[in-house]
Subunit: 351 residues, 2 copies
Amino acid sequence: MSIQPMVEKLPYWLREEGEYSEIVISTRVRLARNLSDTPFVQRASEEELSEVMERAREAFLRLERFENFFYMDALDPIERQFLVERRLMSPEFAKNGKNRGLAVGEDEKFGIMVNEEDHFRIFSIVPGFNPEEAHEIVDDIDNFLSRELEIAFDNDFGYLTACPTNVGTGMRISVLVHLPALVLTKEMDKVIRSLSQTGYFVRGLWGEGSRIQGNIFQISNQRTLGVKEEDIIENMKRMVKEVMDYELNAREILIKNARSQIEDKIWRAWGILKYARMLSSEEVINLSSAVRLGIGLGFITEISVLHLTRLLVLSLPAHLQLLVGREMEAEERDIKRAEFVRKTLGGKNDG
Amino acid sequence: MSIQPMVEKLPYWLREEGEYSEIVISTRVRLARNLSDTPFVQRASEEELSEVMERAREAFLRLERFENFFYMDALDPIERQFLVERRLMSPEFAKNGKNRGLAVGEDEKFGIMVNEEDHFRIFSIVPGFNPEEAHEIVDDIDNFLSRELEIAFDNDFGYLTACPTNVGTGMRISVLVHLPALVLTKEMDKVIRSLSQTGYFVRGLWGEGSRIQGNIFQISNQRTLGVKEEDIIENMKRMVKEVMDYELNAREILIKNARSQIEDKIWRAWGILKYARMLSSEEVINLSSAVRLGIGLGFITEISVLHLTRLLVLSLPAHLQLLVGREMEAEERDIKRAEFVRKTLGGKNDG
């Protein structure tokens, strides 16, 4: 199964603008599920894990809109990194390929990691803020798997998972939010503290263990036990609305107190993206944060936030290398990346 | 005498591109002259200095192409700064206005500072490298003044001047050269040392005591005594040719060893100039140095070095304030400067 066709297509969450896309880049919902007749991944033997893979793969073939199944150990490092950049699997998952697999649905609307922390991590990523849609997608898959396989479920606890934090619904909603004004006004630390206290994790763009880049935060619910899926969604909605209001308020304050400085920051970022001849991924992420803010504030109208998110993802190292069709050293990547960014933004002189 | 008409016109050295203008911005020739019947400026009384002013001014009225005479103490600080930015007088000269005057010729082809270090500092600034032309202009004025006034001259020493370094011809040629590649390749210190040892001063953009900005250096001959004017010119020509060769050689090395980095630096500077909303003079000088190099290397063709030099001068603080027509704080100046730069470079979105 080649990864190349995926390189040439956009995943669902990069195809259209979703609700609140001014601030919310995407919503991801995942369910943690395990087979009842097999020990959890950490305690299972290689044979058992291999059997989980084969049983799952065999079942997936009957799953509607299923498209690809990747054996981790059949993928080279760039292909794995591509899937991480695509947010179809965790960096952690990519590291050890043995007996690990990834199922990907049509348009990458869903994915299933096999033998990650749990036997199955079913997830869906949708554009903007839309936990219902993402939930519906994973729910369908969950129902399918329950029909096909014996899923570990306890009448008191709910779904049983390897890590106690996932027991119960096994559901985690993660929203990717862009909060530049809260960072610039130095309010973000306070917001993070308050979110942690009210039951949310706040992480970087690439999830657990990743650092913050480009003022993009991933906020997820901590609690999965003793709370209904609908309530998780409702709480998430309230929280996201609140965070958005904070951010929009901080933007107003910025414009009131430092309009010229903010405009300058935004337009310089735009000028650099449009003209630079070498760009690291980190710089693209940071500069596009300023441009994204500029779109939100109405200064920049040449590009949409959706195009900017695409730019950011499609210019990541593995994407770039698969696009060009060969491995490249960092310097060559930076040159190609700048070329790609320039072409996308319609900068002249991209000779 | 108002300064405003000068604000709306370009000085001769900014009107056309001269020889070697890729590297040499301008050539300035000045002669130091003193009245034989009056003590040198440092030792003269206020009455004597005032008399020098009046005698000079009266003579200037008969001078061909004479246009303006400014009494320093009649000018406000911004007007004085404007004349410094225009390179018609030294920052030092602007500080103490008493009994100091400045005559300016048509198109600013020449100027005469009265009661600077010497009674008369006759100078001409021409575009590119052209010591002959500048020399011819000051020579004409020198002949005129010798007919009109008693100039201190000694048959052994030549022209007598306040500072012994100017005795003899009293002539100093200064070329303004842009040497970014010698700076980037860290060769410039060596070049400066070698120039000092062979009889040249190397200073910043604004002459004596000014620091280096934008990789622009002012190189002048040290020796004025015991050497003919023609020889000073010939030596200067040889030296400038040599420095130019060094610089062009350094550019080749840069392109060979770090083409992408150099291209990147140049285009980023271009992008920032084109889009920034706040720019300090210092930043304009530095960014336009990279762009100037880009023009020299053939990367940037949208603008000429002449336009770039204009941009640099016309966006200096006093120029900007006289253009807008009012005093402005630094922040407002930076905003107006960015607006001016954007308009000049044809950047869009200059709302």
